[in-house]
Amino acid sequence: MKLNNKLFYIFAGCLFLLIFVSFYLFSDNITFAKSENSCLRCHSVKRLPKVLSNGEKMDLYVDREKFSNSVHGDFSCTDCHIDIDTSTHPRPIKIESKLAYAKEVSQNCVNCHMEDSLSPIHQGILKEGKLSCAECHGSHYITPVSQLKEKSEKCLRCHSVKRLPKVLSNGEKMDLYVDREKFSNSVHGKLGCLFCHKDIDPLAHPKPVIIESKRAYGNKIFKNCLNCHPLNSISPIHKDFLKEDRMVCLGCHGNHYIKSKAQWSKETNKCLRCHSVKRLPKVLSNGEKMDLYVDKEKFKKTVHTDVGCWACHQGINFSNHPRPLFIESKRKFTEKVTSGCFRCHPKNVLSVHPGHAKIINISTFVCVDCHGYHKNQSVKAWKKKVSTNEYCMSCHKFNIVKKLPSKEKLSMKVDLSQIEHSVHAGFSCTDCHMDFSKDEHPVYKFKNRKEYTVNFSRNICQTCHTDEELKENPVHYSISKTASCVECHGAHNVKPAKLPAGVSEKEYCMSCHSGALTKKMENGEKLSLKVDESQILHSVHGKLKCSDCHKGYSTKSHPIRSFKSISEYRSKAQEVCRNCHAKEVSEYNSSIHKALVSKGYPEAPDCLSCHGYHGVSRISTDDIARYNLCSSCHSKESDSFKESIHYKAFEEGKEGAPVCSSCHGAHKVLPTSVANLKDSCISCHSEAKSYHNKWLYNPPFKLESFVDVHFNGSSCSACHASGEKAVILTLATSESKVLTLEELSKLTNWDIEEIRAKLDVNGDNLVQKEELWEFLGDLKGLVKVELKGRLDMVNKNDAHKIISKKKAIKDCAFCHDPKAQFVGRLEINKEEGKAERISVERSAVNSAYAIPNIKDFYVLGLTKIDVLDTLFVIALIAGIGVVAGHIFLRIVTIPVRRKKKEGQ
């Protein structure tokens, strides 16, 4: 037994070895499933399904009979399941999911059903990759398309009968009727019902299904549309509809009776049958004529040819058309129709382009203004075809305005013809606006216009026109650092940088200075450098060249100067005038006006204040201008002047009627205390002396010098103007030079306030004669001074109120009466500006102290020394007294004489 057992084990071992070796050797030829029959031997047996790694259950059963009846009945299993290795099967294969496996297997369909040969819809489905072929066509029992329709017959058997509608849970009524004929004519007629109504289980139907609402059901069903019409296959417009979830396919395409493109086109043709015929236009209620003609051929080429008429002209259909439609106006109709554009082209999509976003919100623009209506093209195609300039101008031809945060408005409108006539003719928009293109339109945020123009200049202009180029002209370079290029050169109408050879100097200068150039002073003040050429041309300088005044500047050189302030600039401007008008400038320099300018009075006039910058006018020929010029500052004086006989003559336009400068001079305007205004009077009234001499003389001879006596001692206005009169005393040196307050202060070492205090010791604002003599006494200890006297107006301004000759003072006693109505004033001149006048007791001139102190001022009666009158009386009394005394003594001594006589 032991041996038998041993042999058995050896035999069994050899057999096992043999089997193992033969398996190894012949494995290539040995298979369990050499044919489908061999596959189906296992797979036609209903077994437990395979459990996949994702938990799905996959039924591996194949109905042998059904398979052999299918279109693929003649194929072997591995024709499709090429992943199955018959030599290793049924070694378990790892399958992730049913779909993944279906897809993997479906890829093999392409081996026979080449992708090119598939319909676009099929191609789209494949591309999308969500569905495998098996989803629609089944896996093993593939049915030909022609058989699909037959399946729908079963459904239509019930649904083609008009019945009561199904009442939904929200109360809506849902008609379940389908017109058999219409359905079978529709594009989906071939597909049958279940392609879309995937929710229906044909085996369980007509078991009632709960449907919440029509819309909810529509939303559910439409998702199945995407099975065949996946997202990648539909247009962006369609995609957006679906994204928005605003509309489902059924909204436009209907549900059961979906039209083919051909059908749509047919309907469009139906519309065009009438509208492509040129007819009389429709007359609207506002009287406008609306052409109803649509060019058929052109419409066919537009992007909307597929959608047809109804997509835009909603509400018009064959049931109500051509019943006349009430249209108020063309624009109203356009606005109404175009408001429908946003149905397919929602605003958020259109707003991707910021410029476009703005335009669509402008109520005055409607879509058709840019895109046209019946002849509109696809933007994409148009964009591709159109030139950059045309593309940009499609929007920028409109008056688009950009509002900046500074509230400035920037016009974005471009006049293409300006560019064509500029040095940049032939440039395309993007040559300068480099960051813009047909596809790019950045949005910049500028705070204000200045920032925009400066940025524009730096980033655009200076790309080509570099600093090196600008440095050739130093001024140009410096200007470019502060100003923007466009300020001078313009934005689109760019002027040539180089002026043509031989251009006049004026044109050369004006090429920049006609623009709004400004210069910044060191203190921050801004001076406009803009020159109005017409001003120069109309001025007396009309024939001058710029460089005639602006020495050092020419077409070759342009020095850069800097000034601390506008007032410093203006003081230098005087040098320009001096080149030609040396006399006038030197006269001006000695005037009170210049003194005030030097003192820093901002309102004090210089050359430019009266004559202007460039519009220089000859003031001397225009009396009204002369008068107005002065009165613009000297309004008080002007008012007084208006009371005068001079003004009356001026107003009446009498020849030679005086205005301000006739007396005060035009350039050498002096303080009235210094100016010799009498000469001004006499320059017109040259006969004044002889006229006065007719009555003003001392008999027995008519000497003109007697008139001089009066002319020397008083101003003309003292007799010829209305107003209070004064005896004016002025401090002068012994050489008759009038002393100024400053000179006095320097000579005495008293400061100005001290001088005032010494003059009016008691501070009553009146210099009593005692104070005056004491002051002069103190002064004489230091300097030789005396007082000069004259008769004049108390208020200088009254001197303007010249009265007529008849009214002038002719009564000698007016002045020569000892009690004449004169007040006293002490006039002290100042280095700059008007003299100071201090009230003085007038009787000072009647004091004995006046004799040494006011040596040269003598007015008969008015300045008589009072003490001499007393002396006269004393002398008279003394004379009479002596006589009376003598007579008295002689009477008393009568007896003595009688005695003596008798004695004899």
Binding site: P700, L703, A813, P852, L860, G861, L868, V882
Partner: protein, 210 residues
């Protein structure tokens, strides 16, 4: 009774013109100065009269001047004999004593006028000064004030118009007082009217006392 021909006709004419002018000039001068207080005439009239008479006075002065210098009587009559100062002073003192004392006690006038020795020493000094200093100065300052521009050089020479005016007014005061005294003295002849009549007739009657 002895009649002495003291006042030749030119002298008499001159004297009376001078007298009238002086009186009127003094009065118009007063009116000019006191225009506010005195109402004899208007300022203008006063000035006109004053100016006219001023020139009359100038012309009149020349009558005197020409007569006395042409006849050389000036040196006999007016010029005090300064070359005999002691004798002259004694005489003057005697004359002053006469006016102050002698005339009261009935002394005789120490001076006996003759055509060549018309003035007593006091008269001689007074008239010499008046005729050679005061009147010319009054005339010149008057001229200056008449037209201060025309005669500015003279005014400046005298130290300014205020000084000129001061001199003119000062002399006016003097003449006013002098004329009173002069008129009184004229009554001190052997009769009250003796000298005055003489000034008309030219003959002074000298009462010879024995």
């Amino acid at each position: 009774m002895k009649r002495v021909y003291l006042h030749p006709i030119p002298v008499r004419i001159w004297h009376w013109i001078n007298a009238i002018c002086f009186i009127i000039l003094i009065i118009t001068g007063l009116q000019i100065r006191l225009g506010d207080k005195l109402g004899l005439m208007s300022f203008q009239t006063a000035v006109k009269i004053h100016s006219w008479l001023g020139f009359v006075l100038i012309a009149n002065y020349f009558i005197w001047f020409i007569y006395y210098f042409a006849t050389l009587k000036f040196f006999k009559i007016y010029l005090p004999p300064f070359w005999r100062p002691i004798e002259f002073t004694k005489k003057a003192l005697r004359q002053a004593k006469y006016y102050g004392y002698g005339i009261m006690v009935g002394d005789k006038n120490p001076h006996h006028p003759t055509p060549d020795n018309k003035f007593n020493p006091l008269q001689q000094v007074a008239y010499f000064l008046i005729m050679i200093v005061c009147i010319p100065l009054q005339l010149i300052t008057g001229l200056i004030l008449w037209d201060p521009v025309k005669f500015q050089f003279l005014g400046n020479l005298l130290g300014g118009i205020q000084i000129v005016s001061l001199i003119h007014v000062g002399l006016w005061i003097f003449f006013a007082a002098f004329i009173i005294v002069h008129f009184y003295l004229a009554t001190l002849g052997h009769t009250v009217l003796a000298h005055i009549i003489a000034m008309f007739t030219g003959y002074e009657e000298e009462h010879e006392e024995h």
